[in-house]
Subunit: 507 residues, 2 copies
């Protein structure tokens, strides 16, 4: 992902290059405001006196205003969204964040908080000229209590760096996701990121012990407790988990880190049909019980795409479906025994047609890379519609063949993969180029099908700027109204990440 | 606990008996309003036309107004709090709850939502004449998906009944606590109950998949999703988890139930001093890893109290400290091997002085009973000050000896026990009778000592009517103000569980 950003910087150092490129869908996406047909709200446009104030707070170095400097922060990694901000601010402390927000709130200048900019729904890039508040310089680890497993750090820490750090102390981060090398923990918290190991270590509402966040008016809300049990009043931290920076800017987090497993094993299996995947999942829950840490499914199309992108051979021969199972345990002998018993039982039963099991780090990484590279593979060299939905497990895969049939040759590929243990499927539709015709074939059809099956139109990636008009498929009007009430009481001027999460009243 | 309620009913069938008994501290506690020096707020006093309305909604049978019928609902199980309500309502559906709240909100009649009435902080009984909304008739199980482990039920279901039910489907409830035979799941959710197995299965913010709740104005907020991943807008359900019925009345919950362990083992160990308990905890986390489901500590005084109450011999000979370890696993041979290796290692190291390990259900229950009976034992025949606080583990036990010294012979007993894995200690002070002198010796001293050590003055039992004036020890003013803002937007007339959770502005 860093390559992508570097590419931009290289391409746009001269203003004329920028002008040439900005309408080329191959390189720079269309402006989000045009693509999503948005009207700018009545915010103040930042002017030179505002820049002077920002520079007074941060120093000139941490206020970016050159187009070439600002551009990478305006575009998301998926090349779906593009804002028109003229200013990037890079605070280094909660006090600076507080001063900036307090000022912007008074001046009614809109703000787009930004972490690692890996959002799939455009949550981290501006829609118009919102000032980008990028937290990448707030990247300090504050403390680690290795006994209780409590890590306290700033929001701009990169997930993978944190994982490497706590691993030195025999702990692991409770979340893991494909973008770990780029995404920030603050962004993970703000979007309630799910990821690969939720099945084992639970969601962030369970793992996050404390949060420090700044409200729109600059008030610092300090819920940075490191206690596992704390029932003193309303549980405010949960307001900031998953509200995508619209209720406050997360500046620090305290997170519970589980013990690093002494033994890790990965199994990769080929299966004949989806029904067998569900049967295998039930069997794994029973046989592998407490050591099951991931149960991922990948369909043939998704795996082939990834193999081509990685230019590597498949780990096993070709099957309609694949399952990746990972175990985390404290006793290698016990874990191997459990996994071997499971494998031999299910090869005998015929659920598993072929498989490989390994506990060698290099081989495990090799297998995981096939799973983790699918989004990048689908994104490479074409336009990608990517959907992140939850469904009850018995309906998990139904929408993929429906979409395939509906799109016919209009799509280069329709594939499904995801975290079956959590009911979360990612559906990718790859087409040669974006067109509203294709959009209209997929949407709202896909969302209606999800709603029919009591699913969620946004499982782990949030709403951002791309889905506010869809949340009514999953949330009723009274609940949306309560969300609006909360937004109104916490950010009455609406300056925090506008155009995101909540639909406008007319939508 | 049911015995307690029956006792009341038997004793108070005649009005004159009630009058005689009501000031006897041995039988009926003092009115909370006097004890906590509260002034009634400006709510409407329900009158006959209101009763007519309630009877129209519920039928006369489910509107209790006889003093003898109402009394048990006015007093909490710990005999600490006593309200003066004249009316108990027993709705059977969310629509009835909605109608009642909508009406009361318009009439400005205050409401006290009530579950199993096992609150330790008086959260479930009224302060003055709030109408009691008792949910015990909303006790239907709605659905169970045994594959994904999702239970949906009404709020008035008793925790133990639910556990028995899901066990028939090879699942368990993710929470377990001493009051399980009486407490309601709705109360568990509303108070974010912790309990014994939080160490393994996490807290309710992680386990609760969905909530249906009714706002003060009668609006039904339906977040009753059964999905593990759902990021569609603000995560409203967390507003109702732990807000003790002050933001809404929880009417239904969807909860994730883990797989029932195939193998359960309990170890009970004697130790010499508290430092060794911490060492043992570290060792257990490493050796027992993923199968560790409870790690409880009990001091000598607490265990002796429980043994005397149960009239049973101690499971092992007498030591200054005891540890109860429980494992949940999927393979009995593996689990026993892990626990035996752990035991022999730590008996050799000298951390464990004596111990017993069992996987026989009867014997495990026998051991657990000593732990679970401590509150009832301390409560029997005397006045009990009970404190539920969280502390960083290295300060976990420090306050118990401090209090012992400070109270001298004024206390019959000062003891500590709790969930060390979660940093949650319960401190019981038993005295012959309540007196403000003793209260002043303990408080605010104890809370100041907790705050000094960055602990929480309410770990798992909440704030209720007994702790609003204390939350400033754990929460700063800006956070309290945000809580007030939330209360104001969700319950502008303040009718829901008034005098609870949030301190009055002057407190």
């Amino acid at each position: 992902m860093l390559n992508f950003v570097n590419l931009f910087v290289r391409h746009v150092t001269k203003q004329n290059v920028l002008v040439k490129l900005q309408y080329s869908s191959q390189v720079l996406p269309q402006f989000s405001s045009e693509k999503y047909n948005k009207t700018r709200k009545d915010f103040t446009t930042a002017e030179s006196r505002d820049l002077d104030y920002f520079k007074k707070i941060l120093g000139a170095q941490r206020v970016l205003t050159e187009d070439s400097d600002v551009l990478p922060f305006n575009v998301d990694w998926f090349k779906n969204c593009r804002g028109q901000s003229k200013i990037v601010l890079k605070p280094k402390s909660v006090q600076e964040v507080s001063q900036i927000l307090s000022y912007c709130n008074q001046r009614k200048i809109a703000i787009c908080p930004q972490g690692g900019n890996t959002s799939v729904v455009g949550g981290g890039v501006p829609m118009f000229d919102e000032v980008i508040l990028n937290l990448s310089l707030m990247n300090q680890i504050i403390s680690l209590d290795a006994i209780s497993g409590t890590l306290v750090c700033e929001a701009g820490c990169i997930l993978e760096n944190l994982d490497n750090y706590v691993r030195e102390h025999e702990l692991i981060m409770p979340i893991d996701l494909g973008a770990k090398g780029t995404c920030h923990i603050g962004g993970n918290v703000s979007t309630n990121a799910g990821g690969i190991r939720l099945l084992r270590y639970g969601n962030l509402h369970g793992s996050i012990l404390g949060v420090e966040a700044v409200k729109a008016d600059g008030t610092i809300i300090n819920c940075l407790k490191t206690l596992k049990k704390d029932n003193t009043g309303y549980h405010l931290k949960h307001l900031f988990i998953g509200s995508e920076g619209t209720l406050g800017v997360v500046t620090k987090v305290a997170i519970h880190c589980p013990v690093k497993p002494k033994s890790v094993t990965v199994g990769f299996f080929g299966l004949d049909n989806f029904k067998n995947i569900l049967k295998l999942y039930r069997s794994a829950k029973s046989s592998l019980g407490e050591i099951l840490s991931a149960f991922e499914m990948i369909d043939r199309e998704a795996l082939n795409s990834s193999a081509k992108y990685l230019n590597q051979n498949l780990p096993i021969s070709e099957y309609p479906f694949y399952v990746l199972v990972e175990t985390h345990g404290s006793n290698e002998t016990h874990d191997e025994e459990k996994l071997t018993q499971f494998l031999s039982k299910e090869m005998e039963s015929g659920l598993i047609l072929d498989g490989t099991v390994t506990s060698e780090p290099g081989k495990m990484q090799y297998i995981w890379r096939f799973r983790e590279s699918i989004p990048a593979a689908d994104l490479a060299g074409a336009y990608l519609y990517t959907y992140d939905v939850s469904l009850p497990q018995n309906h998990y895969y139904e929408i993929v063949p429906l979409l395939r049939e509906r799109l016919g040759d209009k799509a280069t590929k329709v594939c499904g993969f995801g975290h079956i243990g959590d009911g979360n499927i990612h559906i990718d539709v790859v087409v040669p180029e974006y067109s509203s015709e294709i959009t209209n074939i997929i949407e709202p059809f896909l969302f209606e099908e999800v709603a029919k099956r009591n699913g969620s139109v946004s499982a782990e990636h949030g709403v951002g700027c791309r889905k506010p008009h869809l949340i009514h498929y999953s949330v009723d009007e009274d609940a949306i109204q309560l969300m609006r009430d909360l937004k109104n009481v916490m950010d009455p001027n609406g300056i925090l990440n506008p155009y995101k999460v909540l639909p406008d009243v007319y939508e």
